[in-house]
Amino acid sequence: MKRIPLNLWLGGLISFLLVGSAILSRFWTPEDPIKMNILNRLKGPGDAGLLGADQIGRDVFSMIMAGGWTSLGIAVTATIVGGSIGTLIGVTAAAKSGAFEKVSGWVNSVLFAFPPILSAILLGALLGPGGLTSIIAIGVFMIPVFTRISRGAAMQIWSRDYIKAAKMSGKGQALITVEHILPNISAQLLVQFAIQTGLGILAEAGLSFLGMGIAPPTPSWGRMLADAQTYIGTAPHLVLAPGIAIALAVLGLNLLGDGLRDLSDPRRKQAS
């Protein structure tokens, strides 16, 4: 029995709590996260709920739970969409090489010049702010990352003897990719998925902080921080909770990714 590395253990626990509370928020939160209660306005932790109340008396703890669903939902969707497109380009580039590889390299260089906030500013002009804009902006940014990872990993598999044997038995590139390449690179993709979802949460928080994310009143951690800035002098507690939530979520997913990597490839652990 292999010992579970500390980072996997801790990362798994934090990620589990993150996903768990996000899902739970769909069914139950201590208070309704969008219900105003003006009597509780800007009350501190303990005086109104576990983490206090915001400028219109909404329960901060409930908003953090519901905001987790928003963050996770957008980040996971963006990573799945961008990651699938990127992986498809990556494994195709590894199988075909030649012109396709060159063109996909170019496409990546173009996409790489668009970090999420920049794409969101561009897309915001076209679609307006909102959840869809966030998902596309973050997803576009995931494409080159997954293309690079999956292409590199797939090329390594393509050079193995059993792939040569599969080729000689008459299997085509597509079949080999589905039967041999994808299963063999899935561990690396899973590691990247965890880490990129963390980055997606950071990006979503940034977008909603700027007011380019999901529309109110749906709670989101980034907008909670934007609102908190207005009341930073009178209600400093509002600044703490959403920031800690974002940092913990990203930390948990990063640790989970690192831990999975250490588990699947112990040699890398020594090297890095």
Binding site: S109, L118, F209, V239
Partner: protein
């Protein structure tokens, strides 16, 4: 192929990438709802006035002609006039760059000052307490959003202790001291995530290079542990660090947009963001292109730096 020719080919490739990128930006902005002439004149404007303004702005020309004249303008410095301010976009951008460029350079400098010693320190003795501390810093630094660091700095150092202004920028004309002190907190907020990433990379690179034969030879020749570390290991570990600096540029730019917003700095990020909310699309278009140019040019420079930092790449390829 001679190295010079290789570099020229690479530069030509980057130029092609830039052209494709600019076209993409142009098409996206074209497709965006809202006619610039109508926005400038307001909803109550007469149809023929709008048409006249459209003609004056050259908006009635075919799309490809307008694209070509935009790109031509990029080379001659004539980027058109802002729909809301009426000032030339080039001037507007130059004004704002006077805040953003010092901010990002300052942050990068801070990030290197933190991460290089920390990464070397951690990588020199993997598994030691110092390594553990550096790793914890790196993990947290990567996870914490820079705009939240900015808010915390305002909360504790500006409002709490009153050491720094909580935001705003007096302008370079008000004296260097005032301008720099307005940039210190934003630069720290921008630097910490960068420093975390660079610490990780530096640490990994130092550990890897420390196992190389030439380091062992240097030690066998009687060189002390620290001298071998700083004279042989560190210089050879810089390559991945420089690569990462280049890869971080898009994040630095995104970070600047956010941090400028927190500290209400009149930088390029704030300009882009305001332009978007005012639907001043010509400004959005040019700012986004400028960001893309910066990312691509920095990548070109990083490619060139490889050859300087790693002589092996010069002779063999």
């Amino acid at each position: 192929m001679t190295p010079a020719l290789k570099h020229m080919r690479r530069a030509a490739g980057y130029l092609a990438i830039l052209l494709v990128t600019s076209f993409l930006i142009f098409v996206l902005i074209e497709a965006a709802p809202g006619d610039p002439a109508e926005i400038m004149l307001g909803t109550s404007a007469q149809l023929d006035t709008v048409a006249a303004l459209r003609a004056e702005l050259g908006l009635d020309r075919p799309m490809l002609v307008r694209y070509a004249s935009w790109i031509g303008g990029v080379f001659t410095g004539d980027l058109g006039a802002s729909y809301t301010y009426g000032t030339p976009v080039g001037e507007l951008i130059a004004d704002r760059l006077a805040v953003t460029v010092p901010l990002t350079l300052f942050a990068t400098f801070l990030a290197i000052c933190i991460s290089l010693p920390l990464g070397v320190w951690a990588g020199a003795r993997p598994g030691a307490v110092t390594d553990g501390l550096a790793t914890i810093f790196a993990q947290f630094g990567i996870a914490v959003p820079n705009f939240w660091i900015g808010l915390l700095l305002i909360l504790f150092l500006s409002l709490g202790l009153g050491w720094f202004p909580a935001g705003g920028f007096p302008g370079w004309g008000e004296g260097l001291g005032k301008a720099v002190s307005a940039l210190i907190l934003p630069a720290i907020a921008l630097a910490i995530p960068q420093a975390a990433v660079l610490t990780r990379v530096t640490r990994a690179a130092v550990i890897e290079v420390a196992h190389e034969d030439f380091v062992r030879t240097a030690r066998a020749k009687g060189l002390g542990r620290n001298r071998a570390l700083w004279l042989h290991t560190v210089p050879n570990a810089l390559l991945p660090v420089v690569t990462m600096l280049g890869l971080q540029i898009p994040f630095l730019i995104s970070g600047a947009v956010l941090v400028e917003n927190v500290f209400t700095l009149p930088g390029i990020g704030t300009l882009a963001y305001q332009a978007l909310s005012q639907r001043d699309l010509i400004v959005v278009q040019n700012v986004v292109l400028m960001f893309a140019i910066i990312v691509i040019v920095v990548n070109l420079i990083v490619d060139g730096l490889y050859a300087i930092l790693d002589p092996r790449l010069r002779t063999h390829k």
